[in-house]
Symmetry: C2
Subunit: 357 residues, 2 copies
């Protein structure tokens, strides 16, 4: 059933439309306030910036003038002039805000930003170099206070360049090796090892991994954790059972399908991120296989609705919100004190057992 009400004719003309054409956005300036209040722009500026070198009565009349004009200081002009000070603007570049993991990070960042009266320019890169480069240039051109992003192999050089210019950068979720820059990661090796350990303890030996791209540091780390668990248990890895996807639901589904159609199929699957786990789940369902009896499944990244999936999905939970908060706080700390030593933080993941393994 499809209901169609989209109505291209439902377009009305109005008086308001005419207004737009004449009114360039009206913004009173310092000058306007100065004129109205009878003081100089310097004094008005002092009032705005809460200088204590203004008489109470002066402050009062200036503030009255500001209010009556609806004056709002231009962040643009301020940013242009004030070279040393804070611009109260952060740049954040994430692969895709539609991934709940990224949304959580973004939210963590923004909550800290808001608490400190910072606004955030948020961009989606899809891990595409072209977009990353464009947005990195935007950040410089907007002269934001600093940038938070998860680098990948391809973008690393561009990120390094930005760091060279002196722009504070905080890496989240992914790292660049051998570079001294503030970084907030999750311990992916330990997380992946914990997931695999659990599968092994359950008696599985034919365990498949749907891994992420090698160009992403956390993906390599998760692979390492997987291998570590096997080595620890003195178990051999069947290379046929390790597949590399691209962190999308689609490859998760396809690779799980391939795995499931193997002559001797795995009894357990570890999916290296949330989307691929969801894809694997769909593929298993499609084959009417029981979870965990026929195939056990565990994913990396929690989902707010993992509890309500069929079956409730066991996962390695990343503290994504905290990652975002920590990164933002690190950046703000760096801004207020550039001499701070570099921090490389690694937050802990958590094994959450539900019903899928």
């Amino acid at each position: 059933m499809r209901i169609t009400t989209r109505d291209p004719n439902n377009v009305k003309t109005s008086l308001t439309a005419a207004k737009y054409s004449h009114s360039l956005t009206f913004m009173p300036s310092l000058n306007d306030v100065a004129e109205l209040s009878g003081y100089s722009i310097a004094t008005v500026s002092r009032v705005i910036n809460g200088s204590d070198k203004v008489t109470a009565s002066t402050r009062e009349s200036v503030e009255k003038a500001m209010k009556s004009l609806g004056y709002l200081p231009s962040r643009v002009a301020r940013r242009l002039r004030q070279k040393g000070g804070l611009r109260h603007l952060l740049g954040v570049i994430l692969p895709n805000i539609q991934n709940p993991f990224n949304a959580e990070i973004a939210r963590g960042i923004e909550d800290i930003a808001y608490a400190n009266r910072f606004a955030v320019i948020l961009c989606n890169s899809d891990d595409k170099y072209e977009k990353e480069k464009f947005y990195l240039d935007v950040m410089r051109a907007e002269s934001v206070d600093g940038v938070i992003l998860p680098p990948n192999q391809e973008s690393a050089a561009a990120v390094l360049e930005v760091i060279e210019t002196g722009m504070p950068v905080v890496l989240v979720d992914r790292a660049i090796r051998g570079v001294q820059v503030d970084t907030v990661e999750v311990d992916n090796v330990i997380g992946a090892k914990a997931a695999t350990d659990h599968l092994i303890q359950l008696g599985h030996t034919r365990i498949a991994m749907i891994a992420g791209p090698d160009s992403i540091s956390n993906s390599r780390q998760r692979k390492r954790g997987f291998e570590k668990a096997f080595k620890n248990a003195n178990l051999p890895i069947d290379p046929e059972l390790v597949r590399t996807g691209d962190y999308t639901q689609d490859t998760g589904r396809k690779l799980a399908a391939d795995l499931l159609d193997l002559p001797s199929r795995p009894t357990a699957i570890f999916a290296s991120n949330n989307f691929m786990a969801l894809g694997a789940l769909a593929a298993i369902h499609k084959r009417n296989l029981r979870i965990p009896e026929d195939v056990a499944l565990i994913g990396f990244d929690d989902l707010p609705w993992a509890e309500t999936l069929d079956p409730p999905l066991s996962v390695i939970r990343q503290p994504a919100y905290e990652v975002g908060q920590t990164a933002a706080q690190l950046l703000l700390d760096r801004l207020s004190n550039p001499e701070l030593p570099i921090s490389k933080l690694r937050l802990s993941p958590e094994l959450i057992l539900r019903k899928s393994c």
Copy 2:
């Protein structure tokens, strides 16, 4: 099981740290390029802006100078100066990016923005007036080209004020009555009616609705659609079965629980948004009720993983990505031609039947 590796001591000092303290972000300016190339800043500016009044040879040497300096024009200075032109910056204020519905809208907006070389300041308001107001001020102070947001009852006045200043605004998902401003909505009445109709056709008469807050236009519209379906079918609404939540998973769970614990419980539940549907799902599961045999469930808003829920959730799907795209395109059109008539668009929702009803 909890693995803890957070290591506050894993903090290293380095040469890079020292660098920060001295290097104020280095940004070559027009002046630097002018000096290096031997031309005036005016000429350099012309080269940047692709003026045709420059000799090929001049352009060439200026471009060489720009490249060798890694020059990037400051969007800030440009914005300050150029009163008429485009700033290539959009403001977007959404309630919460962690809601996949909002994430989809945001993505739709950004894809159009990126295609036109615009960057986006994205903010979460939590539908809190204080945050909305702060971010609205930020948009003005940053002199963005325009703002996209879903208004609510409380913020409407502030939004109107912004519109008064001449700043282009596009409303998404929610409308303000009696105001001529570009708006992209979804037909909530028809959507909610379709959901309720379907439940009625299935033979249900005790149908509960978990509605959203009355302060949000789409919530009121969905209630209207629900009532319309009842009236159409000549069925009475049991007021006890209509509960008002706040669009969060938590109230969805609580209100569903109340409903389910009623002496004569409803046989079907219509949840007015995605989060409340998820909450209701959890509440039903907790009581070990079968879906749809004991209680049928339908939600508003699709979820990328609705298929994999237990059971796969039937929903009214909103074309959220298209809503975002359309809004952004509307805004860009308005920027390039302010005389354009006001558009009030209403996109179509879609009934997607899966297994929950």
